[in-house]
């Protein structure tokens, strides 16, 4: 094998890692804040891709990429808030909220998938790439689209991280995640902050969908695979810190890229799950997790 192949596989891993980081961070925001697992995350990703397609380039005179992306983020934020209000909030004070919300978000996911199928049909579609053409350094060739995708993912994640750390609303969100009762006693609006966390998570899913739509064909049922990958990443990395699923996403992306090339495409899920099982056995709180925290 040549060094060019090796570099190409590496870059492929980084692209996947950036995508997984977006998805997994969205999932982790809801998980750490509300303490529930959102199985509709994959459906959010699909919906994001379709909304961007509808607004951005459904036909020749579509409104373009930026308008598509904007519509995708806003629309998914609203869908996330609606999902929280309809499917999670009614069960918030029940003792078995974790189990109930698994069932309700699964139901929500299949409803959303059905709606996507109903509106846009099962035929596969593709978004125009954000930037056309290839970039080239020396012997290394890479599509501009993928480069831009990596840069945008990193920028978006940095922005979300800064929002959680430095803004008053983001700080309140972290406070509610860590101690709901203490946050209530300080007068924070728990319901609104939960809805905001859900909306933020859905927006991140929408952006991930937008990126997936620009490198792969999209169908209404494509949400299952990203959801599975995001789940692997979150388990793999743990949720102790905002950055833990991000590191884990790049590790999982690299593993996937290398195992697709060297082991075989069809064996990749098996390799990933084997890795996940090993992590669960050796370090159940996640590779970048801390021992004392188990959300």
């Amino acid at each position: 094998m040549t060094s060019e192949t090796f570099l190409a596989v590496c870059l492929g891993g980084v692209v996947l890692g950036a995508l997984y980081a977006l998805m997994a961070t969205g999932l982790a925001v809801v998980w750490t804040t509300l303490g529930i697992f959102n199985f509709a995350h994959g459906a959010f990703i699909v919906l994001g891709a379709y909304v961007a397609w509808q607004v951005g380039n459904a036909n020749a005179d579509g409104a373009g990429f930026l308008a598509g992306a904007g519509a995708c983020v806003v629309c998914l934020f609203l869908v996330g808030v609606l999902f929280h209000w309809l499917l999670v909030k009614p069960f918030e004070r029940k003792p078995n909220v974790v189990l109930l919300s698994v069932v309700t978000t699964l139901a929500g996911a299949s409803i959303l998938e059905g709606l996507t199928n109903l509106v846009w049909g099962p035929r596969s579609k593709q978004l125009d790439p954000i930037a056309a053409g290839d970039a080239q350094w020396g012997g290394l060739v890479m599509s501009r689209n993928e480069l831009l995708m990596i840069a945008l993912s990193v920028a978006i994640l940095a922005a979300v991280g800064a929002f959680l750390r430095y803004s008053s609303v983001g700080r309140s969100m972290r406070a509610v995640a860590q101690n709901r009762e203490a946050a209530q006693l300080l007068g924070l609006d728990v319901a609104r902050l939960y809805a905001l966390a859900f909306g933020l998570s859905a927006s991140l899913a929408g952006i991930a969908g937008l990126f997936i739509g620009s490198i792969r064909f999209m169908t209404p049922t494509m949400g299952a695979e990203p959801l599975m990958k995001a789940l692997i990443v979150v388990i793999f990395g743990g949720v102790a810190r905002f950055t833990s699923p991000i590191y884990a996403a790049f590790v999982v992306g690299a593993v996937e890229a290398f195992s697709s090339y060297y082991v075989g495409l069809y064996w990749t899920p098996a390799v990933l799950f084997a890795l996940m099982i090993v992590v669960l056995m050796i370090k159940p709180e996640g590779l970048f997790g801390k021992h004392e925290r188990s959300v």
Partner: protein
Amino acid sequence: MSAAPLLELRGLSGGYEPVQVFRDVTLSMEAGASIGLFGPNGHGKTTLLKTVSGLIDPWRGDILFEGVRLNREGARGRRASQNLNYDAFTGRRMDPRRVVRAGLIHVAQGNLLFPELTVRETLDIATLATHGRGDAQALTRTALTLFPRLSERLDQKTRFLSGGERQMLSVSCGLIAAPKLLILDEPTLGLSPKLRHELGEAVRAIKKTGVPLVVVDQDVEFLKSLIDTLYLFDHGRISGRIARADMPSHESLMRMLFGEAAH
């Protein structure tokens, strides 16, 4: 007619469904006075205070603060069916945000606050609770002079603080929220005598700034130095009311509550 009492509970009952923890609690606090609650563990003091601050819905009765009712009128909403598990439309009787906005601030028992937030971030969040009642910056400075130890630890995460420092942080948050009435639920729980003394001094200083207190504590001497009226609370109801002048010693209070056999 005199001014409305600062805090008034009328026939308040509540608990954790389906277990009723306290019943028919009626008490009235005059403006400017401080009260204490004293009673055995596990008899509902904390649950009562959580109900007053809106964390749990009261089952019956009313909570009035400065003459304004904090709970919604009417009996607690019950689900139409035990099978219907969906309560998007079941309104709650209390909203903790409304309680905080009215100026009733509750420092919860053994509150660990936010383990992953730094002291500075936690104090910043407390300033959000001020709602224009006071100057949050000035109050933060006051809190840091009362607890100089906290100002050395501003950039540490709460989970690295000692139990005493966390308690100081909790009380500081209560002070920064510019309370009209401050509820302290066992502020000296699990503290060493030295820290207890230090915290007691700080609480007395807070009282001197004109903030009335509701204090729950197991230490009668500590309560004596702070409050005007002591309520005895056991088996989920108020069983006695003692004015400051004839507040007994710890020993005789124990005898009143448990009888001779307890010793």
